[in-house]
Every structure is written in C-alpha cells, then in structure tokens.
Amino acid sequence: MPQSFHPEERSGVGPLFTSPDADQARLFFRQKPRRLTNKLTTARDAVARLVGDGDYLGVGGFGSNRIPTALLHEVVRQGRRQLGLAGHTATHDCQILIAGDCVDRCDVAYVVGLEARGLSRNARRAFEEGRVQVTEWTNAALAWRYRAAAMGVPFLPARIMLGTDTARYSAAREIRCPFTGIRLVALPALFPDVALIHVHRADVYGNCQIEGIMVSDHDLARAARRVIVSTERIIPNEDIRREPTRTAIPYYCVDAVVEIPYGAYPGNMPYEYFSDEEHLQEWLEAEEDPALFAAFVREHIREPADFAAYLERCGGLNRLQELRRLEHFPGKEGDESDR
C-alpha cells in the first residue's frame, strides 16, 4: 500500500451536471425504440424534437474534426438555452454553442481554444464572466465517463487527475483498488441527454460507418439517451449489411438521421474535405469585438435558412472543392494553397 499523501480519500468539489445512476439510465433505455424505422429527417425537425432547453449535450468528433456543425448551427438557430456541454476537446463546436449563448454549464476538458489556431475571445468572456458553470476534467476522463455510461456501470476507475487541482475541481472521487490497494480516481458515468454526431455514411435506420479516428463517438453514441446523426450521405441498408464489421454505431442507438453533405464544415472530414482554416480565422477575428461578432453570428448562423445557405456564404461549391483537394494532401500542401 502506498504511503498516505492525502490524509483521506478525496472527492472533487465540482458539481455533477448529470446523474451517473445506471438504473435510472436503464429505465430510459428500456423504452428506447428497438424497431428498424426510417429515421430520416431534417436538422430542423431533429433539433426541434430531440433537443430541449436545459438538456445536456455531447458532441461527436474532435473539436474541429468530423463535428456536426450543421446540427450545432440548428441548435443556435432554434435558440436553445441553458444547455449543459461535455467539453471533450470542444473547440469550434464549443465556439458555435457559446456564440449562440446556448450553454450555461460545462464539464471542461478543453474549451475556449482552437488548438494551434488560437483562443476564442467570445468563449473566454463567457467562461470568465461566470456565464458558464464549470466542472474540471480531462480528455481521458470524459472519454472514460462516456465509456462507463456505454458499459452501463455508474463509474470506471482510472489513474489520472490524482494529486491535482483538476481532480479537486472535478466531481470525481478517490477510491482504493479492492485487489491491489492502489489509489484510483473513480469517474462517474456520463449519460448525455443528447448526442450530436457526424458520420461518413448511414442508412435510414441509423446504422453508421465512420472512417478514420473514432475519437469517443463509439461510446458517446451508446452513452447518450438520444442521438442525432448527421451524415455525408445516406447509403442503402444493403451496404450496411454487406460489411457489418464497419458498423460503428448501430441503429438502435440513433433517434434521427439527417443527410447533410459537408455537414462538418468548416471542420475537417477525414477522406472528404479539409478544414477551412481561413474561415476559422474569420471567426477568431470577428470575436475580438462583441458587436462585430453578434453581426457575424447573425449573418452566418441565424439568418441563413439552412446549412446550405451558410455554405454558400462561405464560398459555396468552389471553396468546398478546394477543401476536397486539400484533404488529399498533395506532396506539398503549398501547391494547393498557393493557387
């Protein structure tokens, strides 16, 4: 047994925004439909029916990669308020939701930044002014919290966060291994009310195929009470059945399927199109002035009737075609970007 660094087992002081009660989740999952039905709909309808004020959201992909941008815009457009957010490397996805003033609490692993691109001033203001209540975690912690929920257990043990303020301001608890006596952090299961996930291919029932890194979407789709999938394209059920090995998300997790080509723009969709770095820079620049940024959000999200209209404002098919070319990484990227 290790010597005692902490005088006693510790608990984080952060609020737990979702219940880790696996029995309560089981009662929900018990009545979740099991039937193969056509779930094809519009982003507008899916968000209207399945995302309510106050819901807790999990967002698929990795911040600016394979994110469900079109669904996030729709959440903003419909004016959802007081949402909870799993900030699991939440970069452009978080930026959109904060731009819409949709979020009032957040399990933070990574927020307000866009990785190498810089920081979102607008998102920082929201967090610094206390408009968003925060519990601290890490990327692995949120990944494993999803996994705990996907497994149907109320917690999973891990060897992270120990000894840090990240643990102190989390809602994790320390436990001892019943076999080896080592100190572990217990991560409470995270069952989001709604998951928004963008995939490469889905059938109308919601069986989904994803290319490239899964991030945490395998677990997120299983952990969430309701799941909205947007997809680059709808494929026939026969195509799913031809290669069942490739089904990353089975239909019974999914409540709505929306076909939205370029649905991850301006994010990167692996093997399809690269991120639009110029447009992401426009976001960061617009955020420097709150008034300017309000106009930017109005122009880019609130006013366009749908995602296709947003794509048009951002350069339309010509720009998208450039991003397709960029995704194939010609020997020297400059060959493309200098054109």
């Binding site: 660094f5 930044g113 494993w144 000894g163 490239g212």
Partner: protein
C-alpha cells in the same frame, strides 16, 4: 543520453532562431525505438525531426487516435486527418489513453501558462477558479498524458511570470510536492517530468529533490539570465554544459521537410 553530448561546436547563433533551437534540443531527447504522444506545434515538429535524425524508429501517436502516420505536413489539430494520414491505425481516444495507462508510451509533451519547480503545470486559469481573471483551455489531454506516459517533456518560453513558485491552479502533475508525492497520490511509479526546454536552457530534474535543475545553457546565455527569468530557486547540474546548437543538417531537415511553411519555426 545527454542533451549536450559532445559534438563539434560550430557557432551558428546567427543561423537559427530560438524556436528552431528548442525543437532541435527536444528532438535529441527522444530515444530511438520509443513511442511519443504529441500535440500540434513544436512538439510535433520535434518528433518529426527526431524521426529524420537520431530516432528513425520513433513511433508518433496522437491522443485523438492516430498512430504512426506518414505525416504529409504539420497537423493543425491533434485530431485532423494528417494525424492518421497513411497511418498504421486510426483508433480512438480511449485506445491511445489506454496505451498510455498500460505503460506503452514513453514520451509526451506539455504546454501551459505556468510551471513550478516540480514541473507541475497550470493550463486552466489565472485567479480564483470560480471567477477566473483569465480562463485557459484546461487540461485537455495534458493531465492524462503527464500522469500516464513515462517521461514528460515541455517546450516553453521561460520568464518569471511563467516559471512561478505558486501556480494559480495545478492542472497537470509534475512531481507535485516532491519525492514520493506522485506515488502517494496514486500516479504510476516511475513517471514524471523529464526535460523542460526553453529559449534559455535545457532543464532537467534533480533525482533527489525532484526540483528543476539546469542541465545546459544555450550558447551565449548566462546563469544570471536564467535566474532572472525564473520565479523560484533553480538547481544547477554539477557539470553544467552548453546546449549543442542545431547542426546544419538538422536545420535543413527542419526547414525543408518538417515545417516548410514555417507554421511553427516562424513563430519565434
């Protein structure tokens, strides 16, 4: 492997900038036949340079799931499609984090706003947590990687504000309060900070006290400069060396192959 290993010293100070120097020094810390989880920017450049110089069999992984890509250029996100471009595997975040937790990953790199003498890092906030004066992104994967990988490295600018005796928030564990503290907290034994590479020096950790100890000064840098840019008392290696500057071949590879568009090395 010593950072300041004996080589023919050529004065190249006019030929490289601080970022290039830091990347070259970091690359030389990475042993061949090892695994590293990197982020974007300087750490990724260091790993790519190492693969082309002293560590041809270094395996690069990214926390979002990419393993062993043939990186066509510098990623802008640790989850963008470059991170698994012609990769050996496009896995998941649990996949990578669990490889780290199993003990399969040798190195990782951190960034942060503050670092203390035990290598603990703050990337969460300045000021009170509930009402922060400045909010930073938070741990991301940093706490995980620094908890689980065997050796944690840092490439960071050095100044008194950043190298502080008191973190506003301990986001990511270094050696916590010193000897035995990581183990007592429950972190896997044998892990911890390894090297901090700044524009002034290569800093390691004294094996007895686990406090920062300067291993080598960069060419032209004095002890006083390093002390003046540090908010706590530093230890000094008995055989304090001079950091070996980049050699022409390292610079050529870094500039032509690793970062031809100067995304990272242009920042210095």
């Amino acid at each position: 492997m010593s950072i300041s290993r004996a080589r023919k010293v050529t004065n190249l100070t006019a030929d490289y900038n601080a970022m290039e120097l830091m990347i070259c020094l970091a690359a030389r810390c990475l042993e061949d036949d090892s695994t590293v989880v990197v982020g974007t920017g300087a750490p990724c450049a260091a790993a790519m340079l190492a693969q082309r110089t002293s560590a041809p069999n270094l395996m690069i992984m990214f926390e979002a799931g990419g393993v062993g890509p043939l990186l066509p250029s510098m990623p802008i996100s640790v989850g963008d499609s470059r991170t698994f471009f012609r990769g050996l595997a496009a896995g998941s975040m649990p996949e990578i984090m669990e490889a780290c937790q199993r003990g399969m990953v040798d190195y990782t790199f951190l960034g942060g706003a503050q670092i203390d003498m035990y290598g603990n890092v703050n990337s969460t906030c300045i000021g009170d947590h509930t009402h922060p004066r400045v909010r930073f992104p938070g741990s991301g994967g940093a706490n995980d990687l620094a908890s689980l990988c065997w050796r944690t490295m840092m490439i960071t600018p050095q100044d008194r504000r950043r190298f502080t005796s008191r973190l506003d928030f301990l986001t990511t564990p270094g050696y916590l309060t010193g000897p035995g503290a990581r183990e007592a907290a429950g972190l896997p034994p044998g892990t911890g900070p390894y090297r901090v590479i700044t524009q002034l020096a290569v800093i390691g950790f004294d094996p007895a006290s686990l406090r920062m100890r300067v291993e080598s000064l960069h060419p032209g840098v004095t002890r006083q400069q390093v002390s003046d840019n540090t908010g706590f008392e530093l230890l000094w290696a008995e055989a304090l060396g001079e950091s070996q500057p980049p050699d022409p071949e390292e610079l050529r590879i870094l500039r032509q192959e690793v970062d031809p568009f100067r995304y990272v090395i242009g920042r210095a």
